[in-house]
Symmetry: C2
Subunit: 327 residues, 2 copies
């Protein structure tokens, strides 16, 4: 259900408390689905669209496996994981991205991932100390772009315009997302992501279903199931490469058996290899609400990681509040 302004129906999911009061509140939606698309638990409207943003990266990496590029270039598990990453630009991330490019016969100059300072504060500070400007390889999406470029080289596609929605690689990714999530291609809405490649939007329920299929391999034709499980296993084997120090995706994969990939504007994709996928969107795009809501929602599905409360500390280290789930 959408209201007059085109806003999906959502519900309060987390409260930021300070003293006796709720200071701020975060609304949102989530859906748990099995590989057949059946809803296991839902809050808010599961049919309304959500931009997958970087939570699409495991889907966007499928052509690396399916094309044979990963094998042809001898990509390692760490390199496959960083191709699915929103990474911190810590040294292992930058090294792995550089290695993908080198194996594909390319260089940093071929990356069109845009420039922003490393997400990890100490990595950003280290660049400043060295008197260096951030480069595209430091962008959190550089592994995805390196993976895309490797597919282009392997397939003989043009590498100069690989970001274009009409480029054969981007058309292939669109087809794969539609197929894995069980929708028609024209049901996938496309806009621009901040790093310059297509951003995909789907109904929340279809997104959750696709995650269930990526995480389990179920509900997919054999060629896709094998590729999905190889992506899943690389991310699970190298959770640091998918995000990095202090990041929730890395923490949650290290502490559980789950597949986890967050995205900008507070999207989270989780897949349980034992049978379901979850898609979460905090309506206001606030990252701080993702962890407490996700841990509480996972608890409903029997995955106990903690109670989801997060202490908010002041500058003197004192407790000034907490962010807790409302579910």
């Amino acid at each position: 259900m959408m209201d007059d302004a085109g806003l999906p129906e959502d519900v309060p999911l987390a409260a930021v408390r300070r003293g006796e009061l709720v200071e701020s509140v975060h609304r949102g939606r989530f859906a748990f689905c099995d590989p057949e698309g059946s809803e296991l638990e839902v809050r808010g409207d599961p049919e309304a669209y959500v931009y997958l943003r970087s939570s699409a990266k495991p889907f966007q990496a499928l052509p690396l496996i399916l094309s044979g590029a990963a094998d042809a270039f001898g990509l390692t598990g760490e390199e496959l994981a960083v191709a699915c990453a929103s990474h911190n630009a810590e040294e292992p991330h930058v090294a792995a991205v550089g290695s993908i490019l080198e194996k594909a016969g390319l260089s940093e100059d071929d990356l069109q991932s845009g420039v922003h300072p490393p997400m990890y504060g100490p990595a950003a500070a280290e660049l400043i100390r060295r008197g260096e400007e951030p480069r595209p390889i430091h962008g959190n999406c550089s592994g995805k772009h390196a993976g895309m470029l490797a597919v282009c080289v392997h397939e003989g596609f043009e590498t100069l315009d690989y970001r274009d929605p009409g480029h054969p690689l981007q058309r292939r990714i669109l087809g794969l997302i539609a197929e894995v999530c069980g929708v028609e291609e024209d049901e996938v809405l496309i806009a621009g992501d901040n790093c310059g490649v297509p951003a995909f939007a789907l109904p929340l329920r279809s997104f959750a279903t696709g995650l269930a299929r990526i995480a389990t391999g179920e509900g997919l034709p054999d060629r896709l199931a094998g590729a999905a499980l190889r992506i899943r296993d690389a991310m699970r084997a190298f959770p640091f490469m998918v995000a990095g120090t202090g990041r929730f995706d890395t923490e949650l994969m290290e502490r559980t058996h789950l597949l986890v990939k967050g995205g900008a504007d507070a999207v989270l994709a989780v897949g349980d290899p034992e049978g379901w996928g979850m898609a979460l969107k905090i309506s206001d795009g606030s990252h701080r609400a993702v962890r407490p809501v996700a841990l509480a929602a996972l608890g409903h599905m029997g995955v106990q990681v903690g109670d989801g409360d997060s202490i908010v500390r002041g500058l003197h280290g004192e407790t000034v509040g907490e962010i807790g789930p409302l579910i």
Copy 2:
């Protein structure tokens, strides 16, 4: 009206659009009131409480004037403005805070404002380049703390425990906030702010009324009116000192005749010297929604600053979306 979870009634105020869809939405509340407390325009529940956070700084600076400390120490307009600031720690801010301390016979060692990197990226980078750690004087609240310390010295209050809610200065500030906003002291709820001094919560309507009084001097006894207008005039005369490069408070004061002070978790206080105050709270605490919502709301009151739309750009400089008001 509060729902079962203690959440105030709010309304959608801004939408983040990407491509054909609303990607994210920000809800909130605002109230415009005149100095008598009459509501001029309201969205959401005006009676529900809101933490003033740093929007309280103009109130917290009143004792500087009322005690005579500002005159005794010969504080300049820039120094009064930085005492009301959430500043960027650019060189003029740090110099003004240092000057307040020096005039009061104190030093940086007396500041208990806590440590965080300068809010202004280039100032933070400059510290790193110089191999220096951030100090309390770089904290955005250091001017407020320096002002509080100056009052303590002038009044003969203890300076070691000035952050304590029971300290005579903090008791005095509580009394002033209650008096200016037209509520009883026990109606003001107190918690800890992140910089370690009390954070005050009031009904949104009372907060807006207090701002109308600070901005106009109306509805206040003479001693308070004079102090309020002196604070207002210092902030209006030196908008850079209140925030800094690229900051909305500074921009809005430079472009209008208004008094403007933002606060953490997306609070905004605006006062029109010609007759009203506005208090705004974005329910989810997202700073990005403050500007478009404030500009749209101000437009309703006849203050035309722009249409409130803000382009969201990708890393290649291209337009990927916009944040626009829903009011």
